[in-house]
């Protein structure tokens, strides 16, 4: 979504809101951290990953500068130039992601060799995908686009892990060489993981909030994006731990058991009781800030979200060793330990999520009714009961599939999404939470009506 897009993908804007400037500043800071991290790795660790990361990021930076200069010199029309900038930005962003993924693969999976790394990664795919599907199912009122949810997960798995490599490595090196081994050292490492990892993951949610405001509506959206980032991070961390433990224990003939235990602990037991919960709190804070009227409270809500996320993460890392596992009751004890340490945080998060879903559902139902009462045709009175619940919406799509095939199914899906977008836009406007002009609502209505016409033509022409 570019700066020129408003009101859920419709219309052009005469100016860019200040939040885009903040987003650009955060992005530049993150790139600087990545480059600095690569240089430090190259200078002090001299690893293949450090060199790969450094040369790759510098190459992408040079290409980015060249693209910027080239577009500026060749394209004279400002609108076309903006479009070319966005296009180049997307491609270069994807290039950077691919490069960081390559570095992650080298750093996190090389200990046991590529075959084991692939097996571990494949083992984590179904569970992580299951987690993403659960998130989609929870987001029942207004489902976020797959592309953004997946982007959030990719950030968690690729960018966030790259951001923390150097800082955590440095903290660990200093702590091991200065502190007394034992609980004090554990607490220090827990602060490192909690602060650095939650900041790295939370940046993704913050950037989505700043850049893709029209797909970031409330606390529910924040929790979904945050949890998706957490699932992505958990995926990469699981592969890393599994391959590392396999390499450590395989000479004793128990490598597969060690990796399998990690898989269960992180991909089954810890799928939601872990990074997904932590970073969802960052999203919750940002989502609440989205709907607060004044800047002071917005900032407090965002900071509060980060504080809770760091505390949740810290608790697990610091006090895990306070629950020694007896081999006789190991399988019971690891579950009890997870429930005791992370369970309260997950329960607290679910409480916010369900209240958020309730508020969102009530607000949408209210706006559906108000829009239907206007008689614009965007929402018909007989559609109210369908739009308010996901199951009737699904049934409506299936009916369309039977009558008009896959094209009709997809058109109904787009129509429903546009109608929900309109209701959401109305809700935000009623609450004074939009920086788009009121005409944007009319554009949304026109889009709904156009989709309705297209659907009628598709069904009748079959």
């Amino acid at each position: 979504m570019g700066a020129a897009v408003s009101a859920r993908g419709i219309g052009s804007r005469p100016h860019r809101p200040a939040r885009y400037t903040l987003a650009v500043a955060i992005t530049i800071a993150l790139i600087a951290v990545l480059v600095a991290s690569s240089i430090l790795n190259y200078v002090y660790l001299d690893t293949v990953a450090g060199r790969t990361s450094l040369y790759g990021l510098l190459s992408i930076a040079v290409i980015a500068l060249g693209s910027f200069g080239g577009i500026r010199a060749i394209v004279r029309d400002p609108i076309e130039r903006g479009r070319q900038y966005r296009r180049a930005g997307i491609f270069l962003g994807l290039a950077a992601l691919a490069w960081l993924l390559l570095v992650d693969v080298i750093v996190f999976t090389d200990s046991a060799g590529p075959r084991i790394a692939v097996i571990c990664a494949l083992a984590c795919v179904p569970t992580t995908a299951f987690g993403m599907l659960i998130l989609r199912a929870l987001d029942r009122n207004e489902t976020e686009p797959w592309r953004l949810v997946l982007l959030a997960a990719v950030w968690g798995g690729v960018v966030a892990t790259s951001l923390v490599i150097w800082a955590e490595g440095l903290w660990q090196a200093i702590a091991i060489r200065t502190l007394v081994p034992g609980p004090g050292l554990d607490v220090s490492m827990a602060f490192s993981a909690g602060i650095l990892e939650e900041l790295a993951k939370g940046c993704a949610v913050l950037l989505l909030f700043l850049v893709v405001r029209n797909e970031f509506d409330d606390v529910v959206d924040g929790i979904i994006y945050g949890a998706a980032v957490g699932l992505g991070f958990n995926f990469m961390e699981s592969v890393s731990y599994m391959t590392n433990l396999y390499a450590v224990f395989s000479p004793e003939g128990v490598g597969a058991e060690a990796a399998g235990f990690q898989w269960y602990a992180r991909q089954v037991l810890g799928l939601f009781f872990g990074h997904a919960t932590y970073t969802a709190f960052v999203g919750a804070g940002i989502g609440i800030a989205r709907q607060l009227p004044d800047m002071r409270r917005k900032v407090i809500a965002v900071v509060a979200g980060f504080v809770v996320a760091i505390a949740a993460h810290f608790s697990w890392d610091a006090w895990l060793s306070a629950f020694p596992i007896d081999k006789t009751f190991e399988i019971v004890e690891i579950h009890v330990r997870t429930l005791i340490i992370t369970g309260p945080f997950t329960a607290a998060l679910l409480a916010i999520l369900f209240v958020g879903l309730h508020i969102e559902g009530q607000a949408l139902a209210d706006q559906f009714r108000k829009e239907a009462a206007l008689g614009t045709g965007a929402i018909l009175p007989e559609e109210l009961s369908i739009l308010m619940n996901p199951w009737p919406r699904f049934e409506q799509r299936v009916r369309a599939l039977r009558r008009g095939g896959m094209r009709a199914y997809l058109l109904v899906a787009r129509l429903q999404a546009a109608q929900i977008d309109l209701a959401m836009e109305r809700w935000h406007r009623e609450r004074g939470e939009l920086d788009t002009p009121p005409e944007a609502d009319d554009e949304l209505r026109r889009r709904v009506l156009a989709l309705r016409q297209e659907l009628l033509a598709a069904v009748s022409g079959r």
Binding site: I176, R177, T178, L179, V180, P181, G182, P183, G184, L185, D186, V187, S188, A190, F191, D218, V219, A247, V248, F249, P251, E252, F281, A284, G285, I288, Q291, L292, P293, R297, I300, A301, V303, A304, G305, V307, V308, I310, A311, A312, F314, S315, A318, S321, A348, A351, I352, V355, G356, I359, Q362, A363, W427, E430, R431, G432
Partner: protein
């Protein structure tokens, strides 16, 4: 302009503030634990002389070869400590930790005189394993006060290769 649902969002805002307040208590508990195990003002500047880390012969309970920072996983190794380099009125212990933070060998606590005969501190293989697990092994000599280790006065890190 704020409509009725604003109150509900405010409720969420207050809820997350309560969570944050509880989280700050979590940090306070963490800092208190850190301060207990890493008490301030305990730095004495003492340094124990660690002569080196050598391959260990468990049958004869002696060290073999030269000082090294890396060992294959099939051999045992031991640190050699010169306890006479320390004042006699302190309580110390020495510990080996594997890369998971498990204690895998050590002596003490006791005064340097009490430990004088235990200058060789070997690492142990953790049952049911047959050899050392690969990774970093940290050897520390700690000064204790009130039964709690408060200061590291000697440290060596060695690598067990895969």
């Amino acid at each position: 302009m704020v409509a009725a649902p604003a109150d509900q969002v405010r409720t969420l805002y207050r809820t997350v503030l309560v969570y944050a307040a509880v989280s700050i208590l979590v940090f306070v508990a963490g800092l208190a634990e850190f301060a207990y195990f890493e008490p301030f003002g305990q730095h004495t500047g003492l340094k124990v002389h660690i002569a080196g880390v050598y391959q260990y012969d468990p049958q004869h309970k002696t060290t073999v070869g030269s000082d090294s920072n890396a060992f294959p996983r099939t051999v045992l190794f031991a640190a050699v400590v010169d306890w006479s380099s320390l004042p006699k009125d302190i309580v110390v212990d020495a510990r080996w930790y594997d890369s998971f933070g498990n204690a895998v060998g050590g002596v003490g606590p006791g005064t340097p005189d009490q430990l004088a005969t235990q200058t060789i501190i070997p690492v142990h293989v953790t049952p049911p394993f047959h050899h050392m697990l690969p990774g970093h092994y940290t050897f520390v000599v700690q000064r204790s006060a009130g039964g709690v280790p408060v200061e590291v006065i000697g440290r060596r890190i060695v690598m067990v290769e895969r």
